[in-house]
């Protein structure tokens, strides 16, 4: 059995920024041949954003960046992370000959994935209708902010806008603050990427059994809202609008983050059953708490959480997060240290599970990526290479797969079709 379960499947990936690229790399990790399509007239902006701190490049046109600082396009580690395992080609599909090359590639592929604003691919006859004519069983997964129909279909939005409009932000925050605070990472993008990958796989299963392809419309907004069943049902059933409950839980107490020894050190503790509560009191040397009428059953503890949190905090502050975790886990009580990137990177559990891996890039050296959380026992997949450099696989794809002659290839390069 090959270690790559999706070996033999080919995906044409028009993704850019976050959600599109992440959706396709999940599939690449599993062994599919994912071909990322860019051009020097339309680079993935992910090449210049984020960690490489290229503030000076923001608000510049792709052309000017390509002309002035092409080497800067190959240095962003987060771009490499989100595009790992992919091949990279550059073709200007806004020109008819370029679009035709893409159509030839689609004929030899199983899936097309994109996260353009609705309508972009249609304009160049690369939308589902056009592609299904030349490749009837093609699967097109099209992901965008608000979906491809409805009054807001053309709306664009960045990650913070997805979590705002999806309702997610309205339940994130401190109960004692007026303004919900929302997450500080691109939750909606990640959620959409994972659902996109799932949808693509389900469509492949259907195609393998029936020979039918199809079009899949994914809204980042709806993907995020689809996970909010609990608060949505609260409104549907009782017309009550849920608000942030911070670290409070409807059935567990104590439940939250408690301060530990050292600056910025916290431990999470969650006590659910009476058995856990008794064990918690005993192991922390507070057996008396079980007789305190404020805490003697779950209901009382939920009513007196402020007082209880205060007492728990006075105990935790004498220890490090790992010490608290060890003491409580020995008594079978749920606790875990608050981890930041550095702590996770050094953690033995993540080490043993291969959650962080090193991958080499020809221009920027060795980088650290997250590994593969979909752990399939027999066919685990793997990260075969870092993100592609601009056009690095043009020869393999255009000459090898599409059979262009050397002369034809050179002409297309000269005419900036392969560009």
């Amino acid at each position: 059995m090959s270690r790559y379960p999706l070996e033999g499947y080919r995906v044409v990936d028009f993704g850019s920024a976050w959600a599109g690229p992440q959706m396709a790399h999940i599939i690449a990790d599993m062994g599919a041949e994912v071909i990322k399509v860019e051009s020097r007239a339309r680079i993935d902006y992910g090449r210049i954003g984020g960690a490489a701190s290229s503030k000076d490049l923001l608000n510049k046109s792709p052309e000017s960046i390509v002309a002035a600082a092409p080497e800067r396009l190959e240095l962003n580690p987060v771009f490499h992370l989100l595009n790992r395992g992919k091949l990279g080609i550059t073709v200007d599909f806004t020109k008819p000959e370029g679009a035709e090359l893409v159509r030839q590639l689609v004929k030899k592929s199983d899936v097309v994935a994109d996260n353009f604003t609705p309508g972009v691919l249609d304009k160049y006859e690369l939308g589902y209708e056009s592609l299904a004519k030349i490749k009837p069983d093609i699967i097109v997964v099209s992901l965008c902010f608000a979906g491809h129909t409805g009054p807001l279909k053309g709306t664009r939005g960045y990650a913070p806008i997805i979590t705002a409009l999806s309702g997610f932000d309205s339940v994130v925050g401190y109960p004692d603050e007026r303004i919900p605070c929302g997450p500080r990472f691109a939750y909606g993008d990640h959620v959409a990427a994972m659902h996109g990958a799932l949808a693509m796989l389900m469509a492949l299963i259907h195609r393998n059994r029936t020979g039918e392809g199809q079009y899949i419309d994914i809204s980042e907004w709806e993907a995020t809202t689809s996970l909010l069943g609990e608060p949505l049902m609260e409104y549907v059933m009782n017309e009550r609008i849920p608000v942030p409950r911070g670290n409070r839980d409807p059935i567990m107490s104590p439940h939250g983050y408690y301060p530990c020894k050292g600056e910025g050190q916290w431990v999470s503790i969650a006590v659910k059953t009476e058995e856990e509560w008794r064990a918690f009191c005993e192991v922390t040397g507070n057996s008396g708490w079980t007789d305190d009428e404020r805490f003697w059953d779950r209901y009382s503890r939920l009513l007196n959480q402020d007082a209880l949190d205060e007492l728990v905090g006075r105990w935790t502050v004498n220890y490090t997060p790992h010490e608290v975790t060890e003491i409580l886990q020995k008594a079978d009580v749920a606790a875990a240290p608050f981890m930041i990137a550095k702590a996770q990177y050094d953690d033995p559990h993540f080490r043993e599970r291969g959650i962080f891996v090193k991958v080499d890039h020809p221009k920027s050296g060795t980088e650290t990526f997250y590994g593969i959380p979909w752990k399939l026992g027999e066919t685990p997949g793997g990260i075969r290479r870092s993100g592609p450099m601009l056009g690095q696989d043009n020869e393999y794809v255009f000459k090898g797969l599409l059979g262009l002659s050397g002369d034809e290839f050179n002409r297309l390069v000269e005419e900036k079709i392969i560009f």
Binding site: L6, V172, I205, Y215, W266
Partner: protein, 405 residues
């Protein structure tokens, strides 16, 4: 009738609360047959959780249970008995997929670890979803959603850096693990098309947080950026407003304008107030990093005079990517979602007809659909035990008396 993408797929779920149930809901809603195995008498933990109509608890009226278990068949079975084990094995002999979220070692104690199940049915895919996974030094640690947020690193990006960190709300980690479980299961099904063999899938909630969600933080950390993720949006280096929440007349708006032209257009809509000439409010990096609250307060009066709807329309028209912070009422009543038929309605005696959130995706040929409400406790006992496994109705009485079903 339209065929669904997973029609014919046979799934057995033996789990509780959110992760395993949501994982199989994703399959059931796309046409798979999911048999949900619950403890006799008590049933799935989510039945006690609520929300409940009029706040009156009832195991058949919990909103969380109803939402997570649509389109499934429900049976009761006490698996911790010899007969229970034998019956579950009979079901698994015919199944394609088995999804469970019991603690590591639990299935082994029942004599049903993957090695045994593989002997029983080599084509079976077993998907196990746990907080920390089946391997590693912490595999047996007890953990609830907040603990996975802590260890998985997601809380480093939620909350203010000057206060205690926050957990991801409403058990979101369980859902993330469920989506990953479903995706990995689909990969295993595609692999089985060529190998003919099933396999064991090990999904850890903490792994999913630490990778797809905040794993980019490790890449940035290793690259040499030591910034605290709770400061600024995604590690800093952004311009005002990277992500600001500003109160308006009837709620909040969220502002995010990475492009200068978006910001300038917005100032123009505000009538280019005098303060915009002050150099202090022209350095968008400093405004974001050093005194964002001060800038917020300059914008707030203008926002307070306008409603979410008014503002959203104005910004939409001018291609400014600011949007209202929607609450659950806004979602349920939104025109765009209504036109896209995002919410679906299904009825059941105990609660009547209710609106449920739909799926993340719209398939053109094999649509997601909400055909059946979640099963009542043991609703399909007769159908499965008598119809499928060949027990007589008399056997059913004995099994019931013995507390097996």
């Amino acid at each position: 009738m339209v065929k669904q993408a997973l029609a014919g797929l046979k799934v057995v779920e033996f789990g509780s609360f959110i992760s395993a149930p949501y994982c199989t809901k994703l399959m059931a809603d796309m046409g798979a047959e999911v048999i949900k195995v619950e403890q006799p008498g008590k049933g799935d933990e989510s039945r006690d959780y609520g929300p409940f109509p009029d706040d009156i608890p009832h195991p058949e009226r919990s909103g969380l249970y109803l939402y997570l278990n649509t389109n499934k068949l429900g049976i009761t079975l006490k698996v911790e008995t010899a007969t229970g084990v034998a019956i579950l094995k009979e079901l698994l002999k015919e199944a394609d997929v088995f999804v469970e979220n019991n603690p590591p070692g639990f299935m082994q104690r029942l004599g049903m670890d993957y090695v045994k199940l593989k002997e029983l049915n080599p084509r079976l895919i077993v998907t196990s979803i746990t907080p920390y996974g089946q391997t590693g030094p912490y595999k047996d640690y007890k953990a609830y959603a907040i603990n996975c947020c802590a260890f998985g690193g997601v809380s480093q990006s939620i909350g203010h850096h000057w206060r205690e960190p926050l957990t991801a709300p409403i058990s979101q980690g369980h859902y993330q693990a469920a989506v990953s479980g479903a995706g990995a299961t689909m990969v295993a099904l595609l692999a089985r098309d060529s190998t003919g063999r099933g396999q064991h899938i090990d999904i850890s909630e903490a792994d999913v947080w630490a990778t797809y969600h905040v794993g980019f933080g490790i890449t940035i950390y290793a690259f040499g950026v030591r910034e605290h993720l709770r400061k600024g949006y995604i590690g800093g280096g952004w311009t005002y407003p990277a992500r600001r929440v500003i109160p308006c007349k009837d709620g909040y708006m969220v502002l995010c304008a990475p492009q200068l032209k978006q910001w300038l257009k917005f100032l123009e809509l505000m009538g280019t107030p005098e303060w915009t000439q002050n150099p202090r409010y022209r350095d968008r990096h400093a405004m974001e990093d050093d005194y964002p609250e001060e800038v917020d307060s300059l914008l707030t009066p203008w926002f307070l005079e306008r409603t979410k709807k008014e503002l959203f329309e104005l910004f939409e028209k001018n291609a400014i990517p600011f949007a209202p912070l929607y609450n659950m009422a806004d979602e349920v009543n939104d025109e765009h979602l209504r036109e896209r038929k995002f919410f679906a309605t299904v009825g059941r005696d105990e609660v009547g007809r209710l609106k449920y959130p739909g799926a993340a995706y719209k398939f053109s040929r094999t649509p997601w659909s909400l055909k059946h409400p979640a099963p009542t406790l043991g609703e399909h006992n007769e159908e499965i035990y008598c119809g499928r496994l060949g027990y007589s109705s008399e056997d059913l009485v004995h099994l019931r008396r013995a507390g097996v079903i």
